[in-house]
Each structure stands twice: as C-alpha cells, then as structure tokens.
C-alpha cells in the first residue's frame, strides 16, 4: 500500500486512509477506507482499493459513517446526570471533573468495600473488547470484569473449547488472508468445499473474518454446504443445506462423525499421530446412526450421509463454526464434535483448511496479562470463578449468570459500582432476561457509561457518561480475532475530532495514571501502541500507519514443527500434547469427556406439554447488513433499508394464525414477550420462527419507562436465566419455544 496515509486535495479536503473497527460498524474486520474531511467534518467515506482484504469494497455501515458521526443525538462531551436515574437530565462537564468524580468513587469503594465491589461490563465485538479487561484489572484494580451474556454465549465458548481441545487460538478458515497476493499465492489451496455451520458471515463478518471472502472463494470454484435452520441467500447458492431443527446441531455433528468413521473416510495418518481418544470417540458415535440423527434433527438421513461423505473426501474441506455453537447449552459438545470433524478429516492447519493462531497475541495478550497485576487474594474473589472452573480457566471474566445472581442477592458480596464499556445490554444484545438485569442493576450505587449515543442502558444507569470517539476520530490498531488468530493487522488513523471524545485506551491511560501509575508508563495512545508493536514485529505505530496493513507470515502444520507448544516439542499445546477427541480436562471438571447430544431445555420433545401452548421453536439473532447488534438504529439511510424488527414465519403457519405479511405480532413464552413485524417466507420451517435482536427506538421517548422503547421488541426477554451447560457455557438463545399472535394494539 502507498506510504502516504494522509493527503490534502487541491480544494482543501483532507483524505485519511484508515481501517475500521466499531464504534460503529463491526467486529475487528479492519476494512480499508478513505475518510474525506472538509472544514472539520467527515463528508465522504470511500473504500480503499489498495487494501488486500476488502479491496475497495465497503458495506453500508461504513458508507453511512458521516450520518453516524455528525448525528444530532450523539453525545460528544462528558456528561453528569443531574436528575434522577431514568430522567433525561444532564449537565456537560469537563474530562477533569468527570475523572475526578470517578476516581473519588473508585477510591471510596475500594477503601470501604474492596475493589471487588466495582464491576466492569463489556459488550460484543467493539474495540472496547481489547480494553475493558485492562480497564478492570489494571486501571481500576477489580477482578470483576463481566460479559453479561448468559452462558458467555458468544465466541468465549468456542475459544475456550479450542484452548482445551487443540491448545490453540481461534480456528478460522484459510481465506488466504495472510498473503498480500491472496488466493494466487502458490502456498495457498482453494477449499474444494466449505461448510458454514450456524453462521451467516456475509452479513456478520464474524470476529474479523471478511465475510465476502466466501463469495471470492465461490467464484474460484469452492462449493458451499450450509448448516442452518433457515435457507439463507447463501443457502440458495449452496450445494447442500442441512436445514436442521434449531438446537440439535450436536446430534448432527455426531451423525456426520458416525458416517465418516464407519465408512473409513478419515485421515489415518493424522488420527494415529496427532489425536488422543479416537477409539473412545468411535465407540461414542455408534450411538448416533444417521437414521436416529435424522429423527432428532429433521434432516433427511440421505442428506446426512451424502454430506458426511463430502466432508470425509473433499480436500480441503474446512468447517466454519458460528454463534450457534455458543448459543446452546449443548454447545461445548457441538464445538468439540466440530473440531473432531475438522481434525480427523485432515483439515487442521493445512493450506485452504483451518488456520490456528496462538491463544493470545499482541494487545490480546496484554489484555489477559494485566490480570497478573491483581493479588491472588483479590483474583480469587472473581464472581463465579470457583464454581465454574471450565469457564474461569480460559476466560478472565466473571461468570455472567452468577453475576446476575450476585446483583440480586448481594452474595458473596454486594456490588456497588458499575462501569459499562460499549455495552447496551438491556437492549436485546448480550444478556438473557434483560428486564431482570435491569431490575438487579438498580442496586448499583454509582455508574459510568462509555458510549457514542445515549442508549437505553446509559439512560437507565449512567451517572457519568464518557463519550467515545468513532474509529474515524482516534488512533488505534485493529487485528482480527482480537489477537487469537491475527490474520492481519491494520492502522486506525485519527482523521478529525468531534466534541471532546476519548478512546478506550486514552481513558484507560488517564484513569490508570491517576489510580495505578506503576502499570501505566505510557503518556499517549501512540506510545502504548509502539510498546505493543516494537518487541513483536520490530516496527512502531507510525510504521504501521505507513504500511496500512500488515499481514504476518503463516506457517502450516505447526504441530509437526514444534511451533504450537510452549516447550517447543511437536504436537499440540494440550494436556496430552494431542488433539483431544476425548477431553482430559472436561473429565476433570466432571463433564463427559466425549461429545454427546442433549435435547434443548424447552422443545417439542423435552417439554411436550408446554409445546402445546407454545407451538413454535424460536430462534433469533440473524445479522443484517444495516446494523451491528444495537448500533445504527438512529442512522436514517440504514433505517430506511431496515425500518423494523422482523420475525420470519412460514406462510402456512401464518395463515392458520390469521397473520399477514407486514402485520405486527407478539411473540410470547413462559419468560416474556415482545412485538415484531411478521415477514412471511418459505425459507423457514413451518414449526420455526426467527426473531430479530438488538432493537430499540432512538426516536421514542428517552426517559423511563420508555427508555427509547427498549422493552417493546426485546426478544431476549423470552430467553431464561441460567439454563446453561454443565461447564457453565451456552444458553438457549437460538432454541427456545414460543407462541405467536397478531398484535391488535
């Protein structure tokens, strides 16, 4: 890429090259773009054709960035609440005043109740994901850092399972992202088939994977297999769609393993040399013959066998696992079974297969290492850590469900101060029973919220609001998978300023310098990034700006070369040194060491009586092009494209209920209800409905009880608390039951 990243045009417009990361937009995808600044305002965003991954392409969330950046409702100065909680009464204050108030409170709670009485909440996918851990551990000094989603049902389970089974960072499909010349690189091999399981990467760009790479691969001949309860657009271009009953994925994975093992389609060399527990797995999968799996999953037996044969014989055939692995109490077993499928078919760490990164690198490593700055005594107070070792070993957070219990009961101790960093979780995003969280969070005495807009969560709880800049307004580094598989790394360049916003790392540094200066030697964000980059890569932040994007070299078959284990021996960084098809750690934690299927907690088979009253299987959370979770609802151009929360329902089911396309309907079950707009489509099974998440209405009244209409279409009120797997992971966000009826109001 061109060295010059900032240019002035003849009309005075300044053009700044950058890579994106929310706020607002997406996970750490790092798409390349050029920001056009005129008279201090962002006037245009253009894709950067030189960027090796996005190649000029840009989605509507970045194309509408000027509307977001200069939105009249955006909060761009620090604010202090001057009314009661839930009242829309605020006073602009200086950063010094805000930080003084906050530091006084932190010292007060730490001195009187212990630092553990302070809790930091983080949200999904934003840049804050790198910084909310150090904010808690290193700047504030509390062990309680919480991702509040029941069962940690997003990404964490997949990372933890991989840590235990492979001893590696995140397994991502090889889309030639490591190579500047991409798919043409001679070391690269195009996948023959690609299995996309419980995921829709075209819209979600999950965790930094550039979703439309799938289209690039299809054009080059890769064939697609979708595992999804819905026929998606991609499904209509796929060779096969396994349209399964939501929540039965683990049975399907075990059925595929059954065929691959029994028909001897597995990679004998890999299995013999690099796996542990194959015989046990072989025995286990005998319990899942295709006919039985067909009954459980509603996927025809012939389809299961046909797809299993493809996965066993196509070379390479990576499997890209999605959020469906996490949002399922049986998800640990699903993840385990998918990793087993990938491993025994010889698709691990080979060209065009599944790449694996280190468990943590760069800033991803720093964020985890800051926990060592806390004393053992304090670290032991982390909520839920003792009860849920399988979660607390791999994740540095509290246990989310235990955290709600602690808020409600004051046990083992009372939480008193909350810090909400880029997390709007009373909206249907990262919590189950958000109404219950909302009530429980009332007990916090003092709260800080960092965000870009006054969200329902901020309106309900903030005492101090700290404004975040968008990625266009600060310096930063974006790296895919938060460093767990950094396929590339890009420079985020500050192009201009709006108001007085401070980025996550800037707030961490300023707060850290006041409270724990020994851990915060850096004076600026740039100094911090230099320190992160130099030791590992030998270049500093300015060099990265000039490179634009850096793609670290990738080595395949690291397990043969001693590149995965800390001791430098060949093999995997697990207890046995092998891929654990039978898990020593799961067994030690009291779980079955082998994958097994368990029916969802509420389903036509586990709760047949309830199913009579709630006769639909409810799944939720599909992504759209126009929003990143609860972001973007206030952007006019995007709202014009997606004006309402949509529930998909089959026309036959709708007709029985007198529901027409475009009708507002209620979805209701034992736990809650919400209102969404019906879209009739045959792409969904007549017994299943799919609802949208993340909805609030920035145009509706801000104050209590409305809170921007946050309770109206809130699908997560239908998801129960603490219905999680035995190891503490996975809640049934995608496999509940409900009834549907026309809204007459």
């Amino acid at each position: 890429m061109e060295k010059e990243w900032k240019k002035q045009q003849s009309d005075g417009t300044i053009v700044v090259r950058t890579c994106g990361w929310s706020p607002p937009g997406d996970h750490p995808v790092g798409c390349g773009m050029k920001l056009h600044i005129k008279d201090g305002r962002l006037v245009k965003v253009e894709g950067d054709p030189e960027h090796p991954i996005s190649q000029g392409r840009l989605c509507v969330r970045c194309l509408t960035l000027p509307e977001y950046v200069h939105h009249p409702q955006r909060v761009i100065y620090p604010m202090k609440r001057v009314g009661k909680r839930g009242e829309d009464k605020w006073q602009r204050i200086s950063w010094d005043e805000a930080l003084d108030i906050i530091c006084d409170k932190i010292r007060y709670y730490t001195d009187n109740y212990g630092a553990e009485s302070i809790i930091v909440f983080g949200g999904t996918g934003r840049e804050a994901c790198l910084y909310y851990y150090p904010l808690a551990f290193s700047a504030i000094g509390t062990p309680n850092c919480c991702y509040p989603l029941s069962g940690w049902s997003c990404y964490g389970p997949r990372c933890s399972i991989t840590d235990y089974i492979l001893g590696a960072g995140y397994p991502e499909i090889d889309f030639a992202g490591f190579y500047p010349d991409r798919y043409d690189n001679p070391n690269y091999k195009r996948p023959e088939y690609l299995v996309i399981w419980g995921k829709n990467p075209l819209m979600s760009n999950p965790d930094g994977f550039y979703g439309h790479s799938i289209i690039d691969l299809m054009k080059r001949g890769t064939k697609i297999i979708c595992v999804d309860p819905r026929i998606t657009w991609l499904g209509t271009r796929a060779e096969h769609v396994l349209q399964l009953r939501p929540g039965t994925d683990t049975a399907l994975a075990l059925g595929l393993l059954n065929v691959i093992i029994n028909e001897d389609l597995y990679d004998h060399d890999f299995v013999e040399n690099w796996t542990y527990g194959f015989e046990e797995l072989k025995q286990r999968v005998q319990e899942y013959p295709p006919e039985k799996v067909a009954e459980i999953t509603w996927v025809p037996k012939e389809k299961i066998i046909e797809v299993a044969r493809i996965i066993g014989t196509a070379k390479p055939c990576p499997i890209q696992w999605g959020l469906a692995v996490d949002e399922n109490p049986n998800g640990v077993q699903l993840g385990h079974a998918i990793l087993a499928l990938i491993a025994i078919t010889g698709n691990l760490d080979v060209p065009g297969g599944i790449t694996i990164g280190p468990p943590a690198a760069l800033m991803g490593k720093w964020r985890m290492e800051t926990r060592s700055q806390l004393s053992e005594e304090l670290w032991a107070k982390r909520i839920g850590a003792e009860q849920w070792p399988a979660l607390s070993t791999a994740m540095a957070t509290t246990h989310p469900d235990e955290t709600l219990d602690t808020l409600e009961t004051g046990k083992p101790y009372k939480l008193r101060m909350g810090w909400f960093n880029s997390s709007n979780f009373i909206t249907a995003t990262c919590s189950a029973q958000p109404d219950r969280w909302y009530r429980a969070l009332q007990s916090l005495e003092f709260n800080v919220v960092q965000d870009t807009f006054m969200t329902p969560t901020a309106m309900a709880f903030a005492d101090i609001f700290l404004p975040l800049p968008t990625f266009a307004e600060h310096d930063g580094v974006v790296l895919t998978h938060f460093g767990r598989n950094a396929i590339f790394m890009g420079a985020i360049n500050k192009a201009f300023e709006v108001g007085e916003c401070k980025s996550d790392i800037e707030v961490c540094i300023e707060l850290g310098k006041r409270l724990h200066p020994e851990h915060w030697p850096w004076n600026t964000a740039e100094e911090f990034f230099n320190d992160q980059l130099k030791p590992e890569f030998g270049f500093d932040f300015n060099d990265l700006r000039e490179k634009g994007v850096f793609q670290p070299p990738y080595e395949y078959k690291k397990y043969e070369k001693g590149l995965l284990r800390f001791d430098g021996e060949p093999g995997f960084n697990t207890v046995t040194g092998l891929v654990e098809l039978c898990s020593t750690l799961f067994e030690a934690w009291g779980e079955d060491p082998l994958p097994y299927y368990k029916e969802p907690p509420y389903s036509p088979y586990s709760t047949p009586e309830l199913f009579k009253e709630y006769p639909f299987i409810l799944t939720s959370g599909a992504r759209t092009f126009t929003s990143f979770h609860s972001e973007h609802r206030q952007v006019p151009t995007l709202r014009e494209i997606t004006p309402d929360p949509i529930v998909e329902i089959h026309p036959e089911a709708a007709e029985r209920l007198g529901i027409k396309d475009g009708d507002w309907v209620y979805l209701e079950n034992m736990f809650g209800k919400c209102k969404q707009k019906a879209k009739l489509t045959k792409t969904i099974n007549p017994k299943v409905v799919h609802a949208s998440h993340g909805w609030w209405y920035p145009e509706k009244p801000a104050e209590e009880p409305s809170l921007f209409g946050v309770w109206e279409s809130n699908i997560n009120t239908l998801i129960p608390h603490k219905h999680i797997g035995k190891l503490g992971f996975g809640a049934p966000f995608k496999c509940l039951i409900c009834k549907v009826y026309k809204a007459e109001d």
Partner: protein, 111 residues
Amino acid sequence: MSQYGLLIDYEYCTGCHSCEVSCKNEKKLGRGVYGIKLAEIGPFEITPGNWEWNYVPCPTKLCDLCADRVERGEKPACVLHCLGLAMDYGPVEELAKKMAEKGKKVVMFVP
C-alpha cells in the same frame, strides 16, 4: 466513442445495498431517490431444495455511470463498493464478451 454499460453478476449479488448507498453519497441524493436501486426476486422454491432468490440492482436515469469519477481514473461508486465484486463497468462490447464467458445469471444495463 463506444457506448458504456454496467454489468451485474446476479449469481453473486448478495443484496448488501452498498451500490445504492454509495451512489446516494456520490450523487448526494435524498431519501427515496436513487441512482441505482436494489430489486429482490424471490425467494421461492421451484422444485424441492431448488430455490430462486436474486438481488439485482437497477440503475435509474440519475445514473451517468459516474462520469466524473471515471474521468479521474476511478471506478463508478457502485462498482468499487460492491461487496460481492459482482459489478463491472466498461464498453458494452467488452461487457457482452464477459457475459458470454460467465454464461448465466448476468445482466447488463445501459442506463
């Protein structure tokens, strides 16, 4: 001078709306006015498991194939930003050749 056109490979148009929005940005168009607008055909099932579901962006009379951009040596806004890289721009004769090579699910507009 040859007639220029816009090629759309609707096998790979994923319905992302980037053409629509980048065109609005380029032409500074208000709400409800488009230089190119996405149309959706389907989804419907022809035979079991055989679905038809296409997105096809259609240029309007506001489309001048981004004459200014092309003059500066840039691609038309929609072509640059298309997430599926499913759009192309050029002389109609060249595009016709590309269409024949592709052989299916491709359309050309001469706005």
